[in-house]
């Protein structure tokens, strides 16, 4: 299908160029009646905008500077991942899931892997669980670093971006050590992880955990008591807890309003119930509280990482399930065992059969609850894979979060709910 022809031809007259092509009737019922008469202004915060954190289009209805409502228009990054997954076997579908929430690919891999494990009733050995926890908490740190950098630069604090990305390089270096890839690692797979941690991983992460707390204190020193930051963040984008729950918000955006709900504590997975950590909660539900929660989540992640790294040194054993019906054998086994060759052949050419039934499995990504719904066919490809992604829900709640605040606050609110458009549009 050929795509749109180039934009206006030069022969278009000035009158034609000034005519607005849309039809205001399409928006009747979606924007207030005052927009219909022209009393309020409709402003397009288009898909190309430095502060929308991706290709998000917002149609803002403004009464002067005050936002009456906003209509988000998404789909500019809709990749058809869910439909592409129906065409692939379960193991080969994993790299496609990396690219949804591209700031924390490990979380997407984890939600998909947990869902496949639930569907197949597949076990994960303890060492695999510990490595997964390390990856997920590092991914949380990496994602929150990008959030911090971009949120701060949107509000004007430019140095924080550079500091955050400096730390992020260290985390990406660790991901590269584990999987060979900085971002789209496809490291967490159904049954465990792809391979064991290399020898230089533990000293590197221990050094990182020694250095990182001081850096988080640096970021706090720059922002938390900063009068400009407080002015722009306190009292902005307030959401009441019952409104947040009714709109399906999860993660730090929900905890900012004081609702104590974290899937790592409530419905733990991958051994999270055995780690000691707290869940930071906010009070007022504004941008400032959501900021404080994520800064505290850095510290809680480091607590978990310290415990997990200590455990990784003592717990030996397999890092991935040894159920050869579902997990391919190591390449080193192929030279020695005929069964290994047969399993390898079958799993990489055909895949494995999953039951003709449905499950839903959710984990706590840095943004909120990412849920994976898989309906199998009984054969090797899924019938339907659906991801409930937190950014989708949070963008749908933007009208509620932003109405009544000023135009400049829109940027703060978008930054505070930490949306990623790849996560929203899939």
């Amino acid at each position: 299908m050929a795509v749109a022809a180039p934009a206006q031809s030069p022969a278009q007259s000035i009158e034609e160029q000034r005519t607005w092509e849309g039809n205001l009737d399409q928006l009747r019922g979606l924007v207030s009646e005052r927009a219909m008469t022209g009393e309020t202004m409709l402003l397009n915060m288009g898909p190309h905008h430095p502060s929308t954190h991706g290709v998000l289009r917002l149609l803002l209805e403004l009464d002067g500077e005050e936002i009456v409502t906003c209509l988000p228009d998404i789909g500019f990054l809709h990749t058809g991942i869910e439909k592409s997954l129906e065409d692939k076997s379960y193991e080969k579908a994993l790299p496609l899931t990396d690219r949804m929430d591209y700031l924390s690919p490990m979380s997407n891999n984890m939600s998909y892997s947990c869902a496949v494990e639930k569907l197949l009733d597949l076990d994960v050995p303890e060492r695999g669980q510990i490595i997964r926890v390390i990856c997920l908490e590092l991914a949380r740190c990496a994602s929150h670093l990008v959030w911090l950098g971009t949120h701060a630069i949107d509000m004007g604090a430019m140095s924080v971006l550079l500091y955050a990305f400096r730390e992020r390089e260290r985390v990406l270096g660790m991901f590269e050590m584990l999987s060979g890839q900085r971002m789209m690692s496809s490291y967490i797979r159904p049954g465990g992880v792809w391979r064991d941690v290399p020898a230089d991983f533990l000293p590197t992460i221990k050094q990182f955990l020694k250095d990182f707390p001081a850096k988080v204190d640096d970021y706090e020193a720059l922002l938390t008591q900063n009068p400009i930051w407080k002015d722009r963040a306190q009292g902005v984008g307030v959401v009441e807890p019952d409104v947040a729950l009714a709109h399906g918000m999860t993660g730090p955006a929900l905890r900012g309003s004081g609702v104590n709900w974290d899937l790592r504590k409530a419905q733990p997975y991958s051994g999270y119930e055995t780690y000691e950590f707290n869940v930071p909660l906010g009070e007022h539900g504004d941008v400032y509280d959501r900021y404080l929660i994520r800064i505290q989540e850095f510290r809680e992640s480091m607590k978990i990482l310290n415990q997990a790294v200590a455990r990784l040194e003592t717990v030996k054993g397999p890092y991935r399930s040894e159920n050869r019906k579902y997990v391919p054998p190591l390449r080193s086994e192929l030279g020695q065992s005929m069964e290994a060759v047969i399993h390898h052949f079958k799993l990489w050419t055909y895949g494995y059969d999953a039951p003709d039934d449905e499950i839903y499995c959710a984990i706590e990504s840095p943004r909120g609850e990412i849920g994976c719904y898989i309906h199998g066919t009984g054969a090797n490809k899924p019938r339907r894979v659906h991801f409930k992604t937190p950014s989708f829900i949070h963008i749908s709640a933007l009208p509620v979060l932003s109405s009544g605040y000023l135009l400049a606050d829109m940027v703060a609110i978008i930054g505070s709910v930490d949306i990623v458009l790849g996560d929203c549009d899939r």
Partner: protein
């Protein structure tokens, strides 16, 4: 020989118009502040302090296409976004260059389906293609330097 060395002692160098203009163009090529998906995050990593793009004069990302020279299409282009990218490209003033960063922008990448344009060269002319999913910052820098080589070899006849 003789004249140019004497001139050099006086602080004057001679060159061609092409060399001078092309050198100036590569010295501070301002990219459009534009990122679609995952490759944009690697672009941001390249912009940040570890792999600094400011040393190539690209510290300033201009949000408006009118002031930008370079469009780095970083990320997967969907059918819904395609007219927007085309309009951004048309709004950029000459001289302008396009780098297609990553597999999705170059050829559709991992996605071969109804929603993804199979390469941005379906709608805009591309100067340099960078492979990778996402390309490492070093790969992006190599692509930018390749573009600089290309610009330095442009002739007067090619200028728009």
């Amino acid at each position: 020989m003789g004249v140019s060395s004497k001139l050099g002692n006086l602080g004057v160098v001679t060159t061609t118009v092409e060399q001078a203009v092309n050198w100036a163009r590569t010295g501070a090529m301002w990219p459009l502040l534009f990122g679609l998906a995952c490759c944009a995050i690697e672009y941001m990593s390249s912009q940040a302090s570890s792999y600094d793009l400011s040393r190539f004069g690209m510290e300033l990302n201009r949000a408006t296409p009118r002031q930008a020279d370079l469009l780095i299409v970083s990320g997967r282009l969907t059918r819904k976004m395609a007219p927007v990218v085309r309009q951004l490209y048309d709004q950029m003033a000459e001289p302008k260059w396009v780098i297609s960063m990553g597999d999705c922008a170059s050829c559709g990448g991992v996605y071969n389906n109804y929603a993804i344009v199979q390469g941005v060269d379906e709608i805009i002319p591309v100067d340099v293609y960078i492979a990778g999913c996402p390309p490492r910052p070093e790969q992006l820098l190599h692509g930018i330097l390749t573009l600089h080589e290309k610009v330095k070899s442009e002739r007067v006849a090619d200028w728009a």
